[in-house]
Symmetry: C2
């Protein structure tokens, strides 16, 4: 509190080192406007620094993009540990908590979908350094969901996990083209119906 710098966005707070400011600015701009739509100069300026310093910390724009996605993947990892802490030893509670958190995320009007999935669409080049980050992240995300579904005791955890995974992926992308009030708005209801049908099979 005494530093009085808590409310300042990281990308403009000169007390945090330039590298982090650049990453924070890049994160905001890339996510809001798209990766290809944002130039490195704009990022440097938003970070309160300049292009030279940016290139002293990142080899290229492509590497900056990869690092931007790597940071988001790390943040997402924190979400899962929070989830486990909120419902210790209660996998079904964790699964429901996951669902409602995702619904809230989708409904948030100033979200623009999954940054990793968006990047995969914007960067189709096979050798782009971001692609490996994206693929690993999506695989890990799916694995976590499979594990969680398995812990709930359903008969086919992989199938349920994939259903929920695709449902979420669809909801996030659909919110970009059909709006958050479209089909995506019923994510929780759909997900709980899926879970119920797996818990009580025919």
């Amino acid at each position: 509190m005494s530093t009085a710098a808590k409310s300042v966005p990281m990308s403009a707070n000169l007390q945090v080192p330039p590298r982090e400011r650049i990453l924070a600015a890049a994160s905001e701009l890339f996510y809001r406007q798209g990766i290809r739509a944002v130039g490195v100069e704009a990022i440097a300026e938003a970070a309160g620094t300049n292009k030279m310093t940016l290139y002293r910390h990142f080899d290229s724009k492509d590497e900056l993009v990869a690092e931007y996605l790597r940071c988001l993947a790390t943040e997402a990892g924190g979400f899962w540990t929070d989830l486990e802490a909120a419902h210790p030893g209660d996998p079904r509670g964790q699964l429901r908590g996951w669902l409602t958190a995702m619904q809230a995320h989708v409904a948030d009007a100033d979200q623009r979908g999954c940054a990793l999935a968006n990047a995969a669409i914007e960067l189709p080049e096979k050798g782009h350094p971001a692609r490996r980050v994206i693929e690993e992240f999506k695989a890990a995300q799916r694995d976590r969901l499979v594990t969680l579904c398995g812990a709930t005791g359903v008969a086919e955890p992989e199938l349920l996990a994939d259903e929920l995974f695709l449902l979420l992926e669809g909801a996030r992308v659909s919110a970009q083209s059909s709006g958050p009030q479209g089909p995506a708005s019923r994510l929780v209801r759909m997900g709980e119906a899926l879970i119920a049908s797996h818990l009580a099979p025919a």
Copy 2:
């Protein structure tokens, strides 16, 4: 057959008028590489013409993009009439035909997801002429699915339609970041389970 020009791609066949060649070339390049990644000069060249002729037929690149998406929306409309012709008076058959066609589409390795959805991610600007095309297309697509689900006699056609809609949307985007062998590969199985659970409610 006698013209011997059937196998020539439209974008290079000089017998078709420039406007169509430009649209064909734009369609290919935009879809494969992304809209922002492709310049108008590259499109004109791929169409066997030049930038001036392109700008005689389209007011701007943004308008060309909108027209590109409009054409795809029209093509998609044809798919639905084909589906109805293949299973006349058999809505459940149509729904299953839709599912398997979508699965094949998702599994196709040189597909890059829904061009309209991809464009929505690449072009977040509110006023872009493509956005209206995208939103109308997605709404129409969902409406058709609701109508079809209603014809099968399920109790909650809108819910089933939205579930299938999100499942497909998710499968197409997931194939871009998790590969076509990932969760997206089980689209038919998931969809049929959904349909079955709606046809035989608890």
